[in-house]
């Protein structure tokens, strides 16, 4: 005798959270369900009604609405409802209505409670706090399918022996003797438990021997004072990025001002040789734009492979940023070799996602040039040096797979002295029209990657001193940050928009854009020069502008959406297509859809909060 209702069991086995149950539990459950049918338009139960059973949509569709009749969720086949009122033993806070003729499976409550108590993954599905689920979603997405990737290790985990250190008062010769004795290529100089400098083999070669400097002089004459340091929790990956982007080979590791040790490029290199990070180094060795382009064109495929290891979206985007930076720097250097030295000090800045280190695959070029004010006195021919350079760099980047910017936010057009830049920013800040603000936002995410980087730092310090008082400008920013509502979720292979309309694809860029804009608005209101979205959000949280739990949830939402976006782009690349930001719901599994739905909800919450702060409804 056979009691298995195969059609029902197979249905459960392919839908969350039932699919997490072991086979015997699933068999038992399938043979205990009841089935009911509801005609289109039938209300199953209303807000405040008692509900004692968990329901599963078998066919058709059911709308869940809150007390204000606002659509909260539209469930298609596989959708589950009624669990929260069963688990909390309270009346339902949602109404449920069949929007199509619907067949509904009903789970006996004792069996449901038993499953919840016995199966952890099943239980988690019903956990009350969606933020916790979002966090796991974000973690899960970046979890390894191939085991731990070495570059994900923290510095602490591979930091070797005690640091070799000496006071900065020792002589050059004494320093060299200590290094020779311990067979190290760098020596940390520590005074009163504080790191004051670092001296390396290279310093001894180039600053002492090459210049015939007397070796009895103080080591402080040749050391690098106040060196850049890194924390013990930094990933090997970040160490490599810091080193390659700055051209260092050593980084002191410091926690709470105390020196823990020193990591060298070699330490990290030994961890993992086959890593796309080496692309950045490869690019730096190229002697022609064609060579740079050739290496860059390997990027998408290598990164696509890397995405499927345990890298987070943040790490992947930093990697893409560092490759873009290396290519840009190399192309600038090659152009400089051709054009001769610049007629005045200047800086090349990247803007938007490149500045935030949040670029995806296929991101376009966004950059500009800042000239020292002395360039204002140059004649047209001299000043033409920068457009000539910019044209070469833009063409080189285009050949390397970075499309030209549609809005023409490129150094070929945007090449101004500090003073001219200040005037542009003043116009945006003081007489903002909403279209202009939309266009200008990108300039507020600025990072210098070549030349006199202090020009950019100085400019942004001046600008961000003015942003907190530019209330109309901030209100425009806030309005744009809340302009696009995230979707509500998914229904039968479509994206379900908030008004109940259906869309064919999900625009992942638009979802992450809302978070970026929220973060930017807060950071500029606080007068911060910070550009990273996560950093901006944490800053806003520390200044009590966003609730701490919402901040963490937004960061998780951002990580999840960006990881999905990068994975999608990597898939497009591996199928020989141009990477884009639009994903079809059928490409998402049930868990991704569920987590996305929670990410949308978090974005919506943050938008409501921002809207409240800036009274965006007052703006047109």
């Amino acid at each position: 005798m056979d009691i298995e209702v195969r059609e029902v069991r197979d249905f459960l086995a392919t839908h969350a959270p039932w699919e997490y149950l072991p086979s015997p539990a699933l068999d038992a459950l399938a043979s205990e369900l009841a089935i009911r049918y509801y005609r289109r338009g039938t209300r199953l139960y209303g807000v405040g009604d008692p509900n004692n059973t968990v329901h599963i949509v078998r066919s058709g569709g059911v709308d869940l609405r809150d007390a204000q009749e606002q659509l909260v969720e539209r469930l298609g086949p596989g959708g589950v409802f009624g669990a929260s009122s069963v688990l909390t033993q309270t009346p339902s806070n949602l109404s449920t209505t069949a929007i199509e003729d619907s067949l509904v499976l009903i789970v006996p409550t004792p069996r449901f409670l038993q499953l919840v108590s016995e199966h952890e993954e099943f239980r988690r599905f019903f956990e009350a706090t969606s933020d916790a689920r979002l966090r796991r979603g974000a973690d899960r997405r970046s979890q390894s399918q191939t085991g731990e990737v070495t570059l994900g290790r923290t510095v602490e985990s591979f930091l070797g022996r005690e640091p070799i250190a000496a006071p900065s008062t020792v002589s050059i010769q004494q320093a060299a003797q200590i290094m020779a004795e311990h067979k190290v290529s760098a020596l940390l100089l520590v005074d009163h438990d504080r790191l004051t400098g670092i001296v390396t083999d290279r310093d001894l070669r180039s600053k002492v021997v090459a210049q015939a400097r007397p070796v009895d002089g103080s080591v402080s004459e040749v050391m690098t004072p106040d060196p850049i340091t890194i924390g013990p929790e930094a990933r090997a990956f970040e160490v490599l990025l810091d080193m390659t982007s700055r051209g260092f080979h050593h980084l002191p590791v410091v926690r709470d001002g105390k020196v823990l040790g020193l990591v060298s490029a070699g330490d990290v290199m030994r961890l993992d040789r086959a890593h796309p990070i080496y692309l950045a180094a490869d690019i730096g060795r190229q002697n022609s734009p064609e060579g740079v382009a050739e290496v860059c064109r390997r990027t998408p495929r290598l990164v696509a492979e890397y995405i499927h290891s345990d890298a987070s979206a943040r790490e992947i985007s930093r990697l893409l940023g560092s490759i873009n930076e290396s290519a840009t720097r190399r192309l600038i250097t090659l152009a400089e070799q051709e054009l001769g030295p610049a007629p005045a000090p200047w800086a090349w800045v990247v803007l938007g996602s490149q500045a935030r280190l949040e670029a995806g695959l296929g991101s376009d070029q966004d950059h500009a040039i800042i000239l020292h004010d002395s360039a204002a006195d140059l004649d047209a021919e001299q000043r033409g040096w920068w457009p000539r350079l910019a044209e070469r760099v833009v063409a080189g980047l285009e050949a390397s797979g970075y499309p030209r910017c549609d809005g023409d936010v490129m150094a070929t057009t945007w090449c101004h002295t500090t003073q001219e830049w200040q005037q542009h920013f003043a116009t945006w800040l003081n007489t903002p029209a909403s279209q202009e603000v939309l266009y200008a936002q990108i300039f507020f995410d600025m990072r210098a990657i070549h030349g006199a980087t202090d020009l950019a730092e100085h400019l942004m310090e001046v600008v961000t001193r003015a942003t907190p008082g530019a209330s109309r400008f901030l209100a425009h920013l806030a309005t744009q940050a809340v302009a696009a509502s995230p979707p509500l979720g998914f229904f039968k292979g479509f994206v379900l928009e908030r008004g109940g309309e259906h869309a064919d694809t999900l625009d992942l860029k638009s979802s992450s854009h809302a978070i970026i804009q929220i973060a930017r608005t807060h950071a500029l209101a606080l007068g911060s020069t910070e550009t990273g979205t996560e950093e901006r959000l944490r800053l806003a949280s520390a200044s009590h502008k966003i609730a701490p739990d919402l901040t963490e949830a937004l960061i998780d939402a951002s990580e999840f959406i960006n990881h999905l976006r990068l994975t999608h782009q990597a898939d497009e690349v591996s199928q020989g297509r141009k990477p884009n930001n639009r994903i079809a719901p059928k490409a998402l599994n049930a868990l991704d859809k569920r987590t996305l739905k929670e990410a949308f909800e978090v974005i919506s919450r943050a938008q409501r909060a921002l809207s409240h702060t800036y009274s965006t409804h007052l703006m047109s």
Partner: protein, 234 residues
Amino acid sequence: MAFWDALTRRSPDDRRRKLLARTPGGPLRAYLEHPLPDPTTPVDDLRLLAIDVETTGLDPTVHRLLSIGFVPVNGRSIDLSGARRLLIRQGAGPGPGVGESATIHGLTDDQLSVGLTLAEALAITLDALAGRVLLAHYTDMEEGFLGAACERAFGTAPVFSSVDTMHLQYLLLTQGFDDEPPRDALRLWGARQRYGLPVYKAHEALTDALACAELYLALIEEPGTGSSLASLQR
């Protein structure tokens, strides 16, 4: 049998009592001891058993039962805990095996060789059906085969009270129209499609019984369908 009922004006339950009086102990008697549901029973309280049979052909006098699937319906709810699928072992004696019919139901002689005897399968089915209405899509098939099998196993065919989803669908489709409904609209899978019910793999007795039960739930929600057992019956 309908002709006989009309002639004698005896209700199915009268006939059940009469038959009970001359049925010896055994599964059939146990079934007959339960009264058939009263024709005035409201749909909300009606207890039914959706049944589907897989057979070697369409003629109960010639072809044989291979499998029986059933699932209870209580009012407006299907109870999967009572769902069963029974395979019937085929005698080694003369007579055709599964033969060509396997192309429809997918049951092979090997699978059936480990099944129940006909009497065992009927006993389980009659036990589940006791006190319930037999529900099927085109009940002639189920009534005919179960009746013939009971005659073979126990010497007598039982009395059934039945509801036919094909008949209900026919009534709904012909309300206010003179035209005959298209054939496909009356078939089980065609009718289900009309109510947005899921697509199942057909011709497995339990799945077909479940499909019929789900269709019944949809049909009794239709405004034109009656509200008591009598109004659902022919």
